[in-house]
Symmetry: C2
Subunit: 307 residues, 2 copies
């Protein structure tokens, strides 16, 4: 029943601000939009907070002579409606981590109408979401991606997922990550894990290399039908990420690494760039629809190699 | 009349080898195909030779304590017909330079038929070309790209060009490069330079950044109608590149550079990666048609940053 509590927080927000600048319209849908948006804001705050905490925990070992990183925040407005906030930290554990939230609305360009469910006759859309990509200093700590979003056209659905990209093989991290994702899926529907894991494996794949981007996780989209149920699942995916990724970081971040592991990390990051620029539909769509370039390309690693 | 000399060298080759493995067919067209292919091989040899010479000329200054680089060569076969040779050097002047030649032939997949001139009714194709991308150790030496190609379907044409990507502003390099390209264009047709310079500016452009990849040069395609005239122009573009780029390298490669110039170079290289993976039609086409991945992605810089 947690969503009801958030629901009332959402209502409060609605009174406190000019809601049309966030939601694009004032109607019955507003309540659910505000609940979703507020959750993404809350998750952003909690993620940034735990990532900064981790930065402070590095007392010895590699990079501990550097000061702990802090997030800087930058907002942007979208021509056409809405905007977002980019939170970025360049630290001593997190080499570059971006946590973006955005809530945008408007009408789709003619060339995109029809390619988005529910826009065939009415091109209006509203979308809110959070996106996280972390590239770590240590090659012993996996890179990670998490994104969840709520989209409203004449239809209304949730999408998202999270996947892990270890730089050197680590079976325990992989098992723990998959176990966490399996648990959150199973607590919502018996068929989610199998479907969403498969979807993830298929999506984060580089056909030209015949290689996976990482070890996978879950990926879902077009979750539609029961708003409360779908929102709770989406929220729980965020909460699961909030628990499992810091656990994986803390397990590995103090261990010393070798130059050859660092080299391997930079080459794996090159593949990450290839995936994001060649194949990622979100990146392509964002750039083609005039999205915020800084927010979209925040996923690119701070340094990468193609030796 | 130089093409006639090459013509006879081509004829000699025809007798000396199983020409069908190179050209995919034995007919009157073979002569021109062999002339083009042999020129690309000769240009490759001459470029690799001058680049190795430059490596040997670094007697003092940054990186002179490293041994001079040497090219290594690797050949590949294409499933469906033909193949190519990748020449790559990782040196002390040329941080990573690739000189690829390839001669491939076969039939286009159904999904590409019609998108290539002359394949609407007959999907057969033959293509031969050379492609050069150099990423330099010194941020004071521009990166460069040169490519020329001859394509035969039921039609027959030449394409190519060369463009310069300085990492720090250098007006003299830019002027010299454009002057050389202007000269070669003007010696063949009064309208080439204006057309091909504009084409280059439009092609090597990152719309999402509203930025040019570099300072341009020339770009041409579908040069068709008079085989001898078009071949001579294409050949002269290669010869011009063979003269102007070494001149620009030699002017700059001994000067010491600063850390901040190196940083700027690595960030510019990030943009180069963005262009090649997001926008370059050759890269996209090559990867989609099952081209040789190593040869196609040879253009990616050895190291790049998105800080």
């Amino acid at each position: 029943m947690i969503y009801k509590i958030i629901f009332f927080e959402g209502k409060r927000d609605l009174k406190e601000e000019n809601s049309s600048s966030w939601t694009g319209q004032k109607d019955a849908e507003n309540d659910t939009k505000i609940i979703a948006r507020d959750w993404f804001v809350e998750l952003r705050d909690r993620l940034c907070s735990v990532f900064e905490e981790i930065e402070g925990e590095l007392k010895d070992g590699p990079n501990s002579h550097f000061p702990p990183g802090k997030f800087t925040k930058k907002d942007w407005q979208r021509e056409g409606g809405g905007g977002g906030e980019i939170s970025i930290m360049r630290g001593r554990v997190f080499e570059k981590v971006g946590v973006n939230i955005s809530t945008v609305f408007g009408v789709f360009d003619e060339k995109f109408r029809g390619s988005i469910p529910g826009t065939e006759k009415d091109p209006k859309f509203w979308a809110s979401g959070i996106s996280v990509v972390a590239h770590m200093c240590s090659p012993l700590v996996p890179a990670v991606h998490m994104n969840t979003r709520h989209i409203v056209t004449t239809r209304s659905w949730f999408g998202g997922g999270s996947d892990l990209t270890p730089m050197v093989t680590n079976e325990i991290d992989k098992e723990d990550f998959h176990a966490a994702m399996k648990q959150v899926c199973n607590s919502h529907s018996p068929d989610y894990y199998e479907r969403f894991k498969k979807w993830c494996d298929e999506y984060f794949y580089l056909p030209h290399r015949a290689e996976a981007r990482g070890v996978g996780g879950i990926f879902f989209d077009n979750l539609e039908g029961n708003w409360e149920k779908d929102f709770c699942f989406t929220r729980d995916v965020g909460l699961t990420f909030l628990e499992i990724f810091p656990k994986i970081v803390r397990r590995n971040f103090r261990q010393p690494w070798s130059e050859s592991q660092r080299e391997q990390q930079l080459i794996r990051r090159g593949r990450y760039v290839e995936f994001n620029l060649l194949h990622d539909r979100g990146t392509q769509f964002g750039l083609k629809t005039g999205g915020n370039v800084e927010a979209i390309l925040m996923s690119l690693p701070p340094i990468a190699k193609w030796p």
